[in-house]
Symmetry: C2
Subunit: 335 residues, 2 copies
């Protein structure tokens, strides 16, 4: 089995979180190749009382900072850790890449080094959103890769999202909705109205075994109303961050109140599980769909278990053959 | 004091919720004029064991349904309850209008009958978002009036939002951010980038005593990071609904878990207050800014206390002189 390439230098807590997450994954039996400055990586491991034994290290001398311009960073820093991680996938030395660094630069590294799948106009970020009960998830895409979109791009995201829901979540005939500001036909901005028109065509639905469900609203994202919610990367990212913000602020307030009332919420398995479900670190990162390889992008603030979760997701997606499945689901005329 | 005109026929639970809310407001000493089918309104009152004593009723023979096309409805149904309510404000017979009916048609009634304030290009919906602690609020606008926006519109929303934060929330120098998908300059879609450029101009800031804070993210909406968050009506509505959905789904799950753990959350003042703060019925409706009169729009699903809250907000905004304050804050070249 090919190892998973982990960007050792990316994230707010780099290299410590990335290294500790990689060590956890290696301990769980997953083959890992850590990319970055070998000295910094070993120091991070020994700081945590760990060693990099059993983990391959590939040297990369440069780091793209969290606030650096993505395009500029990737063009100029050819020996950046995330660029090298993407090259390992491209060259068949790794099965997938995982990174918590600058999101735009991680995407750009994957896009420029692995390349797009044939027929894909633009890759999109798919995020898995837990329903509050935790029993089911929905897929939101694009969660931030493309700030400006066309209806044609959104129609392609619908195909990719349907395939992702089937492969990752095991939903045989996923329902697909377009994120809008009302459920009635004719609502929304011009982008959404034209997208709904395109997606109402039944051909794509039968080609990818999806069911187009029309408009979905922001309030449907954390429910099981539809399996896949399609939107442009600007709106999707705002929705995702808004929900994360709401979850964080409520769970913080509720925990404080429970503690004040003498309730030990951490001793309650259900409540602890609820708060964990709302924690971005537990969601296994977001996946860049449409590139020729598996690329999982974590929150910059990821803790080691967030990195571990993302590595597990990457490994699962490789086994499930997500790249081939998406490639096979593109419209014949696009390929 | 002029009465507040309440659309008696609007909302999912019309006329019952609207009538019961109006009765609560009248009992609290607020002068009310209910607009709608007099028979239906009295029946709703007597169904609830109430009377309309002390409440003026203005007859309107038509109703615009929740799913009716707003523009078409307002143009065709000249005797619709919400249209008549807006006319009462226009003609000086009411100080404000409140409605839980079809949002688009309520806005259109206010816009077409009251008219825009001089210099206002498009009215916007301002929603008050509670921080989880409940101690402070932020203003989100546009929360749904204008699905397609230009940078010039967003710049005007920034002025209106700053005035609203000062008048309603008492913040002397409100900070204003633009909703974006990253905090760094240069991020976002073309609409946002151009808006940031316009708002970086210091003149408008000194004219309305606002401080431009640059980009804000979805996660900042439920915090006190900035006082006013400006966005187009599509993104704003998606963010609002996404947060409401997240709050509803978490509080439902948390309540069930607390009950299973034997905790009586309803007996805990802090927890009850937390859930209430997250309840749209408690937020007093959204306000349409930029029209020549006060117009408060409630959730279609509003219960009587939601209608009461909106009437109280309307009354408060009339007293605070919000319409005059917004009118005075427009750019000299627009007026």
């Amino acid at each position: 089995v090919l190892p998973i390439a982990v960007d050792g230098m990316g994230g707010d807590h780099a290299p410590h979180s990335a290294v500790a997450g990689a060590v956890l994954a290696a301990e769980a039996g997953l083959p890992i190749v850590l990319v970055g400055d070998p000295d910094a990586l070993s120091r991070a491991a020994s700081d945590a009382g760990q060693t990099l034994e059993g983990i391959d290290v590939v040297a990369a001398s440069e780091v793209i900072a969290m606030d650096e311009d993505p395009g500029f960073g990737v063009r100029r820093k050819k020996d950046a850790s995330m660029v090298r991680a993407a090259e390992l996938v491209r060259d068949g030395h790794a099965s997938a890449m995982v990174g918590a660094g600058n999101t735009g630069a991680t995407m750009a590294s994957a896009l420029l080094r692995m390349g797009r799948l044939r027929g894909i106009k633009r890759p999109a970020i798919a995020a898995l959103i837990p329903e509050a009960s935790g029993a089911r998830h929905s897929v939101l895409l694009d969660a931030g890769a493309n700030a400006d979109c066309t209806p044609q791009l959104l129609a392609q995201f619908a195909r990719m999202g349907a395939v992702y829901a089937r492969v990752r979540l095991g939903i045989a005939e996923p329902t697909v909705g377009v994120l809008n500001i009302g459920e009635e036909a004719g609502k929304g901005n011009s982008l959404v109205r034209e997208t709904v028109e395109l997606l109402s065509d039944t051909r794509w639905q039968s080609e990818v075994w999806a069911i187009f469900a029309g408009n979905a609203e922001g309030g449907d994202i954390m429910t099981t109303q539809v399996d896949v919610i399609v939107t442009d990367g600007f709106t999707g990212n705002v929705a995702l961050k808004s929900m994360e913000g709401a979850c964080a602020s409520i769970s913080t307030a509720a925990k404080a109140l429970l503690e004040a009332a003498g309730v030990d919420w951490s001793a309650d398995a259900g409540l602890s599980a609820l708060w964990r479900r709302l924690d971005p670190d537990e969601n296994g990162g977001a996946v860049l769909l449409g590139v020729d390889g598996v690329c999982v992008i974590c929150h910059g603030a990821s803790e080691p278990r967030g990195i571990l979760g993302a590595i597990q997701v990457a490994s699962e997606l490789v086994e499930l053959g997500i790249v081939g499945a998406i490639s096979a689901a593109m419209a014949p005329e696009d390929v």
